[in-house]
Symmetry: C2
Subunit: 336 residues, 2 copies
């Protein structure tokens, strides 16, 4: 049976539930405005491991284990893992999830992977391919700086437009068992490239992609800003959020009253020196788990559009003078 | 309706068809045993671009365009793209597929991505989420050497156990319209790590994962080596293929008479100096399109298990002393 909706979206005939979730973060995130909401705040940025990459793997392992522990499920109940991170060849996921011995679909959409993994896990459960599946993503400030910018030891200065990569991992168990939140539809995004070449201004690079996916979601589902209690982007930060609101105004929609950005929420920009805000696959994932889902469970927010955003660059593409294209995957989450 | 099969597999209630496919390769692949079968042999390794990475992006763009041209479909008929490559942050896919303006799911499973992309595209079409979806993967000898080993200018010597990364891209349009080949089931793989640390012997690192997925496929579908005309691995090469056959014998199955490896088929090892054989996301994809699918269309092979294999390493994980874990995703393709 066709479950397509409009040009790009999917409306699930049997919407999968978000059965349980978890959030593991680092010290800085623990000191931020959402600090008390996370499942676990790791005081050691190395997580007792030898390298930053192993530390990030450990974040993913802990997030999945925590989600299992919080649910009434066992490891054997989880049929597939959908996972990704920002590191080259996704090694945080591979080395972090290996021990679970669950079939793995590796995903890459930069910071939008948090949305992509929820999309594919939801598609899998809704189709009857699994009773339960896990979506998990991570990022780590130090492994990301090492990968994309400079080693921490270099102590470089950061422009005010720069984002701060969140140290954290969020895991979500999707399944057919009833809970208080379900994914009723998705709008997978396409790549949007406005030709921005400044990798220290990723909010500006990703805002057009967020605009494109939100607009597509409105068209496909015949909705507008009036139909959502919140539209929550991943990590546009202060600058990207302003651009997004302006771009959508040009298309006739004013989301300024209902828009929220995980990258803005997770830190106290005035006191934590995080400049434009948080970013990374972990940013939107831990914010969804710790802050957004509880509000949906309570019915405080009945219907939201959750929209992690990604900047599709690598150091190689950047050094070769390529632009920074963006992508955003939309996930409609409803109270039930 | 549940479509799960056994512990890890999916049996599609409405199996999607492989409507069309394409194969674009480089000069060396064009000079190999399958040379005359490919859709296009590019004589310029740069594909008229400025960098190796842009050249690989161009391979993907050409592969998708060729698959569209060969089908009776238009770009607008293709609802989703499922794509991946070997480069950090999957830039070959992002920059190669941007212009199609089709929603993109980025995937990463090293060289197993060719199988992973077919799995997720098949899951999507079979569930009624799309009438048509595209799976596409690529690799390029020069971008891979630069990424994983040494710049070509360094002219390093290669051990005999090393694989040769295939320059090529294969694209597959899956859909609901009847054709002569369909994907009837899949067995997504889990990560298997035997602790091998030699990145110049990836066949040995991936063989245990291939063994695990084949065995799981046999158990889940209650099949054996007798049920397949061919079991075709992605890029184990000569050394990995031998290990796979030995490992499966230990589990009671002899696949020696029906096993084939795309990495072994694509080059003439005696005359092309390719050592253990071909590898890369492009290797199994172009071999499937140019060599395997025509035999399925003719009914020469009625049922095969196609099993691209991936080595989940990065230069960072390798330099930090980590092992090279493997993964293999199984795709059952049947004549119809």
């Amino acid at each position: 049976m066709s479950q397509t909706k409009g040009q790009s979206s999917i409306q699930f005939a049997e919407a999968p539930y978000i059965i349980e979730s978890s959030s593991i973060v680092g010290q800085k995130e623990g000191e931020g405005p959402l600090g008390k909401l996370f499942d676990s705040v790791e005081q050691d940025p190395m997580l007792q491991k030898k390298t930053w990459e192993e530390a990030e793997s450990e974040l993913q392992r802990k997030a999945v284990q925590k989600a299992i522990d919080k649910s009434n499920l066992t490891q054997q109940d989880l049929r597939y893992l959908f996972a990704g991170d920002l590191l080259g060849q996704s090694i945080a996921s591979s080395f972090g999830l290996m021990q679970f011995q669950i079939p793995l679909f590796g995903l890459y959409g930069a910071c939008s992977t948090a949305g992509e993994s929820l999309c594919v896990a939801a598609m899998t459960v809704a189709a009857g391919y699994a009773d339960n599946a896990v979506a998990v993503t991570s990022s780590h400030f130090a492994s990301a700086e090492k990968q994309f910018r400079y080693p921490l030891e270099y102590a470089n200065q950061r422009p005010l437009s720069a984002n701060w990569t969140v140290t954290g991992s969020g895991a979500f168990i999707l399944g057919t068992k009833r809970s208080k939140a379900r994914i009723t539809g998705i709008t997978p995004g396409k790549i949007v490239d406005y030709g921005i070449k400044d990798s220290f201004n990723m909010g500006a690079a990703m805002a057009p992609a967020a605009c494109d996916t939100i607009y597509q979601n409105f068209m496909d589902f015949n909705r507008s800003d009036k139909d959502y209690d919140k539209i929550i982007t991943g990590d546009l930060g202060l600058i990207g959020s302003k651009i997004l609101i302006d771009l959508l105004k040009e298309k006739g929609f004013d989301i300024s009253q209902i828009h929220m950005d995980c990258g803005v929420e997770i830190y106290d920009g005035d006191n934590q020196d995080t400049h434009a805000g948080g970013s990374g696959c972990g940013c939107s994932a831990v914010t969804l788990s710790a802050y957004i889902l509880p509000k949906i469970h309570k019915g405080e927010w009945k219907k939201i559009l959750f929209l992690p955003t990604g900047a599709l660059l690598s150091t190689v593409s950047f050094n070769e003078g390529q632009s920074v294209p963006g992508i955003a995957h939309g996930v409609v989450i409803e109270h039930c």
